[in-house]
Amino acid sequence: MSNIPDNLQYRESHEWIDATQDPAPVGITDYAQNALGDVVFVELPKVGRQVQAGEQVAVIESVKAASDIYAPATGEIVAVNDALAGNPALINTDPYAEGWMFKIKTSSTSTLLDAAAYAKVIA
């Protein structure tokens, strides 16, 4: 069973955002990291970039495939997780904490899923 924390919000494309924090960290779900397999490279957005909710902002490369990552919210990228450059596997081992990808200073979130709704998406 995939771990789906109750305090986060989700996109159908398997990103999570913690909108209770400001700025809000973003990553991919446990289900997504498991499906992608061993992450070997992460391409992160530049700090300062303005992004629209639903815009492609990052790429996760596993041995298997390259996968686009979409912004769950509109706003400015104010931080990226530099630790992923040296240890991209953090996305596999700790997708909801050490494996966060970037932080958004949000002006508005698009319609997102709560944990129960996301659980149905991956059921």
Binding site: G37, D38, V40, F41, V59, V63, K64
Partner: protein
Amino acid sequence: MVPFAGWEMPVQYTSIMDEHKAVRAAVGVFDISHMGQFIVSGAGAEAFLNRALTNDVSKLAIAQGQYTLLLNEAGGVIDDLIVYRTTDKEFYLVVNASKIDEDLAQLQSLLTDADDVQLANVSSMTGGIAVQGPKSRAVFTAMFGPEAVFPEHNTIFIAATPEGILWLCGTGYTGEEGFELFTPDSQIEHWFRKAGEAARAEGGNVCGLGARDTLRLEMGYPLNGNDLSQLRSPLQAGLGFFVQLEKPEFVGRETLVRQKAEGLPDKLSAFRMIDAAPPPRPHYPVVLQGEQAGEVCSGTQSPSLGIGIGMAYLPVEASKPGTAIEIEIRGRRYPAEVVKKPFYRKS
């Protein structure tokens, strides 16, 4: 699960990285039931196969096998395969799943009424598993008992068991010691489970298509469809060792003789990324001195080396180890260099 040549196959059972490392350090078990098998028999079988294939089957003693190629008239590769001599008049061929129909069509087109040759496609009734890794012998013993004889490299051993015939072959696609087993498809699940159980007892595991690809690429083994095609010859693919130009005739020979005399237009070259970079993948542009010079045929992140590796056709002068190239990934160019095969050597 992914579709592959008409089969649904798992890319991974646990993780490509873990499965890959299990094969290098211990042992892995692969379901290779998708692969094709032909039996070619008759008084004319040897002469026929020597006309159709690049290597020389007359050099094979009974129970020996060799890697060989089936070419078109222009010298392009239809398929790469293994051929074993099972008796003086019978050969067992193991071919790629995606090429079964093309291989059959080509072989049938080369048969004449004068040939005393029977060609049987037994692919659909045959299942297979591959056991690969330094602990393969222990798995073999656990499966067949201490008396059974392990098939040495490039040999075949046919065993009659109460569950049906087993073709045991000393071959593989990983660079590790191991064997492949082919048997009637009704029995393959039994053998797969037994091999998987024995592998786990040795610290190994079952492995999917993903690890099969990373393991073979670390050895620089070509994959038909990626690295081999009907547009390029085995000499361009670096497989000259498996082409016997001394044979008076075989399909595609003229082109190869001409290429040998005039020089090759390009050559399949191995490269590795220099720094941390996204893994190279098929069809990414390869840049030489600022200009696109080709595209990646096979590419992946090497689990053993922790760096991106791949193969591409490059002009002969650029195919020398040490040549600086770049791989273009999503519009950005990452430095790489041409290296010698294999990428991975056992320490």
